[in-house]
Symmetry: C2
Subunit: 223 residues, 2 copies
């Protein structure tokens, strides 16, 4: 049986949960805390970060969200999530990288640390400047999602791809924190609404972290 070591609000973990569901692969979840990974998790991934995928069947545990996604896609090529040719795959991977890195450092990692992890490690009060910067930065990214979805059916082209899953995974964490200003970004909202409506997304909308309630619209498909 495939096991995914994850944390509820880890963006990369949510990305892999979406991908496994879209590929129709059954899996168990095992919880790990990014702020206190523990020895047994560190033996699976010395970085201490989820996600880690244990595919079973003698395959060693795999770490890094993008590496795990490439592995899953290679072993389960259908449905196509990585593009039909090398140029299309480069565009999917560019946008996967955009959210996995640029959006992470500019928006989602900051908000997650300031609004959640900081409390878990008792690292003092949130830094208002960091939060304010992330809240400014997200507007640029939501505008870019709107720009892409005006020109394409999905973010990387005509087919839904890993780019949509990575973007939606990051946005879903920001949305859980009540930090996505959807009202001002209607195209991005429409794209996110389509993502939210997919059966693969349902489990994410049921996630709840103790002491950190999402806004009322979080699991509303007509938000």
């Amino acid at each position: 049986m495939t096991t995914l070591y994850h944390y509820w609000l880890s963006q990369g973990s949510r990305f892999i949960r979406l991908l496994l569901a879209e590929k129709g692969i059954g899996f168990d979840l095992a919880l790990t805390k990014p702020w206190a990974p523990g020895e047994s998790f560190l033996s699976l991934n010395p970085s201490g970060w989820p996600p880690v995928l244990a595919p079973g069947g003698g395959v060693p545990a795999l770490a890094d969200a993008r590496a795990i996604a490439e592995y899953i896609d290679e072993r389960h090529p259908q449905p196509v999530m990585l593009g039909q040719n090398a140029v299309a795959r480069a565009e999917v991977r560019r946008l996967v990288g955009w959210f996995d890195y640029k959006f992470a450092v500019e928006v989602s990692d900051t908000l997650l640390f300031e609004r959640h992890y900081r409390g878990m490690i008792r690292a003092g009060a949130p830094d208002p400047t960091a939060i304010r910067t992330a809240r400014t930065n997200i507007r640029f990214h939501l505008d870019y999602i709107g720009h892409l979805s005006e020109r394409r059916r999905w973010l990387a082209g005509d087919e839904m791809s890993l780019a949509d899953l990575m973007a939606a995974a990051h946005l879903s964490v920001v949305d859980y924190l009540g930090e996505a200003p959807w009202d001002e970004f209607q195209e991005a909202r429409q794209w996110y609404s389509r993502m939210k409506s997919r059966p693969s997304f349902r489990p994410l909308l049921a996630d709840r972290v103790a002491g950190l309630a999402p806004p009322a619209h979080y699991d509303d498909l007509d938000f």
Copy 2:
């Protein structure tokens, strides 16, 4: 002709320069400044970040270091740089991600910003706390490189791979800044010495940025 839009001290740009050279692909360099990308570069990559690869022959410009590397590897599979099977590829990609993200946010992006980019955008004096944290963090990473290279011929296994190129690209930037404490990490130094000796590495050792001289050992193969 293939053109690589790069910046001298951009870690991802150096990674792609190494990869193109290892694959035996000729290319021109075009300079872009990450702190002031300009309209024409932004039209190639809205993130504003090098590297961007323009492969020519009607192929659109490609962005994101990992996406570019996958494209190059798919079009030029020899020599093998991504592993011989899906599990080996997952390990290569895990370590590529380790340096492209974890090492970047914990060490190299911080040092590059504080010691170089901050001056270019006149953003005030370096933050001593950020520099001190990065100098502490690098020890963990050099220790991990040593751990890996005691157990394997190269970082991801028996063959040199994209993992070595990504790690060496990041380390080379840190080394240019005089921030790599090689004396305390002999295994990591030996691995880096092997990387430095490769013909693909020579052009990187000749890079010089105005107003920011590297330490004397930077281009010394017997450092």
